[in-house]
Symmetry: C2
């Protein structure tokens, strides 16, 4: 086995060996200011610590000690998949150590490795839930046991460590786990798949790191096996874990949203490494239909609480939007892979939308409480969640410190710590900037390019790119014009060009100090639903740049159920505060909610009411909230 440590892999969460674009890693992109610096700081100073604190407190880390000390199953804490949250925390830590080199975090990371290492069995198996006397046997519950899912997250954490630190004893644990999985489930082994995808993408990524084709082959096997009824019957039906139809035969993402998105990511990884363009085309088309018909304005996915699953086409009820934070993470994984595969700007648009309106909406302003689900309409002011014990996951009101199923906080943490890797890519031709933040970007193209990005985006739409290092040969700088922006202005020296959605390309010989400016108009705008989204009929939303806004009762003064907006003029936007004209209806008390005549629209006085960014809602106590507001006549 050859342990490659190619600079092509360093600091990259995703590193396909083929594709239209080549990723940069988090060592290549340093975010230096603005919105995402604040989020990365929050992650560094609060979220990671908070997740570690809670997993010690509720005993999910302690499960590993209990395993070593022979106290399992008696002392086991948490759900069957709790090991995976420890691994996701370690993945976040690994990226974070790579990003900042924090020595204290390095000590905490290796301390965790020391507690996990002795739990791995001689054959590579590692799980605190199965296989001991008094526990269920290994691999006795593929539907719900999550053993392959836990291995997936362990391996992903190992990949993060390998790509930020290099090979060490933790990477060894991951490699031994992957070897074990291949030994058990290989072509001549158990013909099974896991109920929750994740192992597929993890094995491909480890294969990319080690050069070991066996891991890729195992991922391919898992992928091809799915959709043939190898999983047993469950109440939710086989589509819950995408076992209803083979991956390449499906037409749209369906079933459990996180499972569907993780599987799509794994399929894209396999397609990139095997040159399977049929598979790539199938997943591309599934995702396109999913974005077109099964995605919330926030980029959130998953309309049903039942089974945490996608609804049918255009079935997008704002008041029951499940929109799990982890589905946001999965959507970023899938869209980023599609971007690398085909270079389509729409994939970067989706990444941006999800980052600003799902990932950022989950953590509280202090980084110590989270939304698991991200509803677009809060009908009743929720109540303060428990502060001293895990909450149910779908409380759907105020953010909770921890959940009985707490996949989301660690998923947010690993996303924020690796955020740099989503900012820019390269191709043979040049550098592409997809996400806008003040940043320093180094790219190993044509002998070395460096640029500085300066911007207050998404507060202000001016993006200024200064060339800090360049080879003499010409190369192309590409800046994304978001899909929601009908026309941006590109300035290069004296030249000014109007640019529509897609990439604004500037190809030339560059000199250090050259400046390119992109001006993206951000003014708040009304957004209307497709007529088939019945749940949004007669309602309108407000977006400003990539940020979705909402009306919160704290700003309205009364329950948002009584508000109607006058959408004739554009929303008021002074660059800082967004306001919309609102009329209040009288509350109609009736003994039956159906009526022989339509009610007149609100007729009262119009007043301007402040909207808040959706990601900032529910930070001022219990409230009602809506993203989609009824339109006054």
């Amino acid at each position: 086995m050859s342990h490659r440590s190619s600079p092509q892999l360093r600091g990259r969460p995703v590193a396909p060996s083929t594709g239209a674009l080549t990723p940069l890693g988090l060592h290549d992109v340093t975010i230096t200011g603005g919105f995402w610096t604040r989020m990365q700081d929050l992650n560094a100073t609060a979220i990671i610590d908070h997740a570690e604190y809670w997993m010690e407190r509720v005993g999910w880390i302690g499960n590993f000690d209990a395993a070593v000390e022979g106290r399992l199953p008696a002392d086991r804490q948490g759900r069957e998949f709790s090991d995976s949250d420890v691994y996701k925390l370690m993945e976040a830590m690994a990226w974070e150590i790579g990003r900042t080199g924090d020595p204290g975090l390095e000590r905490r990371f290796t301390a965790l490795v020391d507690r996990i290492r002795p739990v791995q069995e001689p054959d590579g198996y590692l799980n605190t839930m199965f296989g001991r006397r008094g526990q269920q046997p290994r691999y006795s519950d593929f539907e719900w046991g999550h053993e392959l899912y836990c291995f997936g997250h362990l391996i992903q954490a190992g990949v993060a460590r390998a790509r930020t630190h290099g090979h060490d004893s933790f990477v060894d644990i991951a490699v031994r786990a992957a070897d074990h999985v291949c030994d058990v489930f290989g072509p001549d082994g158990l013909e099974k798949v896991g109920g929750h995808p994740e192992i597929e993408t993890a094995l491909v990524e480890l294969g990319r790191h080690t050069g070991e084709r066996r891991y890729l082959e195992q991922a391919r096997l898992f992928l091809e096996r799915r959709g043939h009824g190898l999983l047993g019957e469950i109440d939710f039906g086989p589509e819950y874990f995408q076992d209803d139809v083979p991956v390449r035969a499906a037409e749209v993402l369906r079933g459990h949203a996180v499972r569907a998105l993780y599987l799509a990511s794994g399929a894209l990884d396999v397609a990139a490494e095997t040159g399977d363009t049929d598979l790539l085309d199938a997943v591309t088309s599934q995702v396109a239909r999913t974005v077109a018909t099964r995605t919330y304005l926030t980029g959130g996915m998953g309309a049903h609480h039942e089974g945490e699953s996608f609804g049918q086409d255009y079935e997008l009820p704002p008041d029951r939007a499940y929109s799990e934070t982890c589905a946001g993470v999965g959507a970023i994984h899938t869209a980023h892979r599609l971007l690398l595969a085909d270079g389509g700007a729409e994939h970067a648009d989706l990444v941006e939308r999800v980052l600003y309106n799902v990932i950022s909406a989950s953590p509280a302003q202090d980084g110590r409480a989270f939304h698991y689900t991200n509803t677009l309409h809060q009908r009743e002011p929720g109540t303060e969640p428990a502060q001293d014990e895990p909450s149910p996951r779908a409380a759907s009101s105020l953010r909770a410190p921890w959940f009985a199923v707490s996949c989301c906080p660690t998923n947010v943490a690993r996303t924020l710590s690796s955020l740099g890797a989503y900012v820019a890519t390269t191709s043979a031709d040049g550098l592409q900037v997809h996400q806008y933040a003040s940043a320093h970007i180094r790219a190993d193209i044509a002998g070395g390019v460096e640029v500085d990005v300066e911007t207050r985006y998404p507060e202000d739409g001016l993006v200024r790119v200064r060339i800090a290092a360049t080879p003499p040969e010409p190369w192309t700088l590409s800046l994304r014009v978001p899909g929601w922006c009908p026309s941006a202005v590109l300035r290069v020296g004296e030249e000014e060009r109007e640019m529509g959605p897609g990439y604004a390309d500037v190809r030339r010989e560059w000199a250090v100090g050259d400046v390119v400016e992109l001006v993206i108009p951000l003014a708040a705008r009304w957004t209307w639903p497709h007529p088939q989204v019945d749940a949004l009929r007669g309602q309108v939303a407000v977006e400003r740049g990539p940020v979705v806004y909402c009306l919160e009762s704290v700003d309205l003064g009364v329950d948002v159920a009584l508000a109607e907006v006058v959408a004739s003029d554009a929303p008021a936007d002074d660059g800082t505060i967004v306001r919309v004209p609102v009329r209040l209806r009288e509350r109609i008390e009736a003994t039956w909610p159906y009526r022989p005549e339509p009610d007149a629209a609100a007729a009262g006085e119009v007043r301007d009411v402040t909207l808040v960014p959706y990601h900032a809602w529910a930070n001022r106590g219990p409230s009602t909230m809506r993203v989609w507001m009824p339109v006054a006549d």
Copy 2:
């Protein structure tokens, strides 16, 4: 113990000893023609047979044989509550035997009794799921075990038998079961409640039959114990089984809809027998708010698939309406008890609405397939359910022959066979007719009243009541004018009166042959949603009399998603067929379902399209369907 067999109880599913109105039994009211005769015939010739056939086939009846033969748990079939479906079938059979005297059905009933009797243990316990070697111990799972729920249905079946046939060995089984429950859970016994209410109302009814106060007291105890956290934590939270708040402290029905409605019925039974007006007022107010804010146009209850539960106020998505058939049965039980308690016409309105639009919507036209859920909007045509095995319960497309959880078919059967009991009541003052069908009604008031009702309702709105027997003293005939009818015409001899919703009372000295006519205008009408029902904004429905109509793709020719209705004039209604003017939109293909401008309404040609009664939909193969139709500009 005194076994009363008062004529006040005979043939009555519900027989409170106090209240504004006194029920009549199914021996007092013979439905002689029209819609409900057809449904009762369907029940007699198909539904009951079909349910018995399937429960033999899937082994739910065989579980009792397996118990006797010592083959449990190895041979046990079905879910933990499958015994209850056998009892519900027996309740349906008991009412049906009472209604028709069918000797073949009597033989089948007693054959079932012979198979169940030997399973009852010496202390009265009876359940095929618990307590044997290799099974879970008795009363080890109050949250999900359904033991008290099964006892409830056994006792209700016993009550039906007692009130149609008199005391026999099956009633003995029910009495011994009730005694067992009181022995175990009495004031000095186990302080527990069951996860699924049903035992409460059953115990009160058996107490009414036997005069045994202990049963009433036990029901009261169960009721008062609920809402204090005696049930363990479950994922759905304590409101799922109404253990969040004491019954008398709650403000609205919430959680699992069937559980909530069965509990409300039990509370009303206890209130009626104990004179607890606080409890009566509390439940009356909870139901009023539930009807005002949490009920579908069909009368269906339960908005969420997740937990089969009520949504929040005004959260009534038509495309995810769960509206379980059994919740319809529960709503009838609750509303009928409220009607008996306070005589309010709104309760009879709800019974009527649920009968025509939930209960009747469940069985297929041949009585051999059923809807478990009753959605108001079918987005995708659905596929033919399995014909040779039980289906998942919430398939929500075409009706299925049987379900893995098959509570609904037997619940429909017991409702249809006892339907006569919901038609009319008496008071000291006279006779009240609540539901309209051609019928002969005998009432033991003032020495004996008989009337003949002749009507083609709900096809035609003329209801003709002829006095067939009367005492010389004056008494009051009251005919319900439904709440949806602004003005009906009452004719008595030469006299004609306009009557608004409520009861049209005629008090006089009657002679045999006297005729009263009520003319209820039935013409098809538009119905609009309360403005807080966001999911229905910009949409309109059509009702004709008590019958909700819907647009089915079979009639439209294309997917109903493309239809907009022109609601300026009243719907066309020639007395047989209802038509509405429809414009078709072009299908808008877009890569993102949100848009910078609102789309124009459909602008094409207007054509008249036939609507079908909601209860008749999905009888012509896979289709899309909507009750609420977008309104064209």
